[in-house]
């Protein structure tokens, strides 16, 4: 290997559950500032891919972030290196406020934190972190609300804000727009673009085709765990394999 490559790169990533191959030989790249869409029918292995990349599922092949290999690292170490994710089901800490959900991601504890808690002085830096993260997803007035009291759409957005807190070099979004109405969804597309514009690459999984095809620079289509297409969205709409596997009909009619 020559230059350390910026961004996320997987090479021949494969996940097996027993005899079932959930992800087969996926080589995918997300450059900094790029938005890549990962689409495919239910059960195609999209979430499995995110789980494998973030270290929640064992896989073969290799995962690399900004030239550093992540293979064998546990999830929290990957997060510390800037690989952040959201969950399809939200997975917020329901017993913490929105602000605390974000703060805990920015300062995840540890021995040093224990020392600071006991002997250090309180600082106000946390507030700024929370403010920035909530601004990035366009949420206001919820910082003091318990996460479990939010609507599903809000929970998804807090999940994104939580993923942006601290170091974020690559953001994996697992169905972030489910639960948003179509206006909110458009707004959310804008926010994804502006997040990417600030540096981190974004991998976006969603069922909302207009969102994915509208916002992404590149889409990758999975079927039965195998990538069957990787390229610009405009090409994906008309690619016969994609249409047959996933869309069932040319994209124009779906969009209409």
């Amino acid at each position: 290997m020559s230059e350390p490559r910026a961004g996320l790169h997987t090479t021949s990533l494969t996940v097996r559950y027993g005899g079932v191959v959930a992800n087969a030989d996926i080589s995918l790249s997300v450059e900094p500032g790029q938005v890549v869409g990962l689409i495919g029918p239910n059960g195609a292995g999209k979430t499995t891919f995110v789980d494998a990349v973030t270290g929640f599922t064992a896989c073969t092949g290799s995962v690399e972030l900004d030239g550093q290999s992540l293979d064998g690292l546990p999830p929290h170490r990957r997060r510390a290196l800037g690989l952040t994710r959201t969950w399809q089901s939200g997975e917020l800490f329901g017993n913490l406020t929105v602000a605390e959900n974000i703060l805990v991601a920015a300062r995840p504890g540890g021995a040093g934190a224990l020392w600071r808690d006991v002997f250090g002085r309180r600082d106000a830096a946390g507030k700024a972190v929370v403010g920035r993260a909530l601004d990035a997803v366009g949420l206001t007035g919820v910082a003091g609300t318990l996460a479990r009291d939010l609507t599903l759409g809000q929970q998804k957005l807090v999940g994104v804000a939580r993923a942006l807190a601290g170091t974020c070099r690559l953001l994996l979004l697992d169905e972030p727009a489910a639960g948003l109405d179509s206006n909110e969804s458009l707004e959310f597309a804008e926010r994804v673009r502006s997040i990417a514009a600030q540096g981190p690459g974004v991998l976006l999984i969603d069922h909302d085709m207009s969102l994915v095809l509208g916002v992404c620079d590149v889409v990758c289509v999975l079927e039965f765990g195998k990538p069957i297409f990787t390229g610009p969205p405009a090409v994906a709409r008309t690619d016969p394999a994609v249409v047959a596997a996933y869309l069932g009909a040319p994209m124009e009619t779906v969009d209409a």
Binding site: F93, L114, D117, V118
Partner: protein
Amino acid sequence: MTTLLEFAALGLGLGAVYIGLSTGLLLVYRATGIINFAQGAMAMWGAYVFARVQDDGELVLPIGTIWFPEPPGTAVALLVGLANAVVLGVLAHYLVFRPVRRAPALAQVVVSIGLMVALQALAVIRFGPNSIQVESILPTGSIELLGATVPLRELTMVAIMIVLAAAVWAYLRLTASGRATRAASENERGAVLMGFSPDRLALIALVLASLVSTMAVVMGGSLTGLSPANYTLLVVPALAVVLIARLESIGLAVAGAIGLGIIQSELSLLATRSWWPQWAQSGLDQVLPFLLVMIILFAFGKRLPARGSLQSVRLPDVVVPRFVPWKAALLVGIAVACLVFFTPSYRFGLTTSLIIAILALSYVVITGYLGQISLAQSAFAGAAGFALSKLTTAWDVPFPIAIVVCATLAAALGMLVALPAFRIRGVQLAIVTIAAALAIERFVFDNYSLTPPTGNPIGRPTLFGIDFAIREGRNLARLEFSLMVLAILVLMVLLFVRIARGDTGRAFLAVRANERAAASVGIDVRRTKLIGFGLSAFIAGVAGCLIGYSRGELSAESFSVVVGLSVLAVAYLGGITSFGGALVAGVLGPLGLVYTALHSVFDMGNAYPLITGIGLILTAVLNPSGIAGETRHQVEWVKRKLRSGRAAPPAAADAAPAPVPAEKPRETTGV
């Protein structure tokens, strides 16, 4: 070889008791998803009833006694004893387990521990604390086998228990309701849809389990005698057997029970050999089950079946604590005034309360914040206490430093016990920690080569020329000591508040809420658990040192597993999620202020643990946020009402956000 065989045969008796207890545990678990820590205590009650009816025709009830005109003979006595077991099973179902069937694992563990504490206390009150002899219902005599003399009694016992276990197996396999029980343990919703009432299945299981276990203890009692402590805690090795059986297989449970009984018996033989190290003779019978539990959980922890249930209830609320100087000053002022003006006996009671509050605070850290069930806090406290004895007498380490060193030692022990928590959680962790606590108690605290029976004196604490010892001549509760304890409690609460409000407390709560999500936001879940166990063991260690200083001399009884469970009981009663709850727990705790007050009014004898046990069950069933939480809800309700002039019913489960952002009640699902 002959001796080996004879000891193996002796081990069959113990194995038979394990068959009874583990079959009962397994059956209850399959039907309810609850590990019944009171299985041994329940069985012991019926066995006691049997023994007394058989002995002198006295049918002892929880309250009152019925006399048979003359001792009615063994068969009738056995029937009466088993009838008691049935009634106990029914009562346990309706009053204890049914109300918490949808509760989080913590509440279920707590409720069965409450039952265990209450039954043991009741047995002490009704049957006395000492061991009684039980006349055997089994044939005496022996047979010759391979040159060894094998007693018939053990052989008959194990045969009877195998038959009973086979009957339970047949119930689960061959009857419709047994099959439904197995189905329900996989998927409760499915069983409901099939038209079975999980409730009735649970009732049948509890009664059957109580019967089988009681039968085992009735026979086992004739080998070893009955005492309230020994069969209550025999549930711990039985739990090891249940884990061997992967919480599923009766056949494996029977094999494991017999195997464990035989190995324990052989170990006791080996321990008498000259080459066996003297320091390793005590408590082997508890170390072995602990090692077994550890090995099994490490090997299979993830694959042990978890139960799919209909719904779960939220854990008690957590309130991020705030340090309010005037409130703190007021509380400290009241405490100082009480300590100054109280009579010595009340001063001692209040001082004990302050110490127990520290111990309860360690439960708040580990259970309330981190969501891990640890039943080993008394062992951490005891380890620090015994270390203190060595440090202050043998090495003359001065007073405040000695506490820090010993508490740090306890923290290290705590982090060691945290290792299994990497793999397991919930009730399985409760099993590991109670097995660890019992192993430490028997292997270390009761070990005369480590802690001499002549006593473990502790040096007098002095600082800057002031003597903080508790006794001076005839003064048995010196004010100096009490004030020192108060100062340390304040220090511990301050420490707790700083940590709970900081990054560490937030990380604890995140881990408690959702370990997977916690890892995904960068929290090192393992390290967080290590820190939590270390911190809570440190606080428990400080309490252990103060218990040491308050006694002047240590005994293992101060730190027994049962003491630890009683403190858990009051910690849960007070409210396991706030330091206010820990303070309430201190006031309620064994030998504390309330105890002293009640004791001076009327002689309670041994009723106090009974009251805490029942209180614990009631709290877990009715009001999971504890007394402190309930008071807070009432206060919030009054505040809201005053503000809006509009009434809303005060409820323990009231989850409405409080008006002050810093005081939000929180809760979460599932431990």
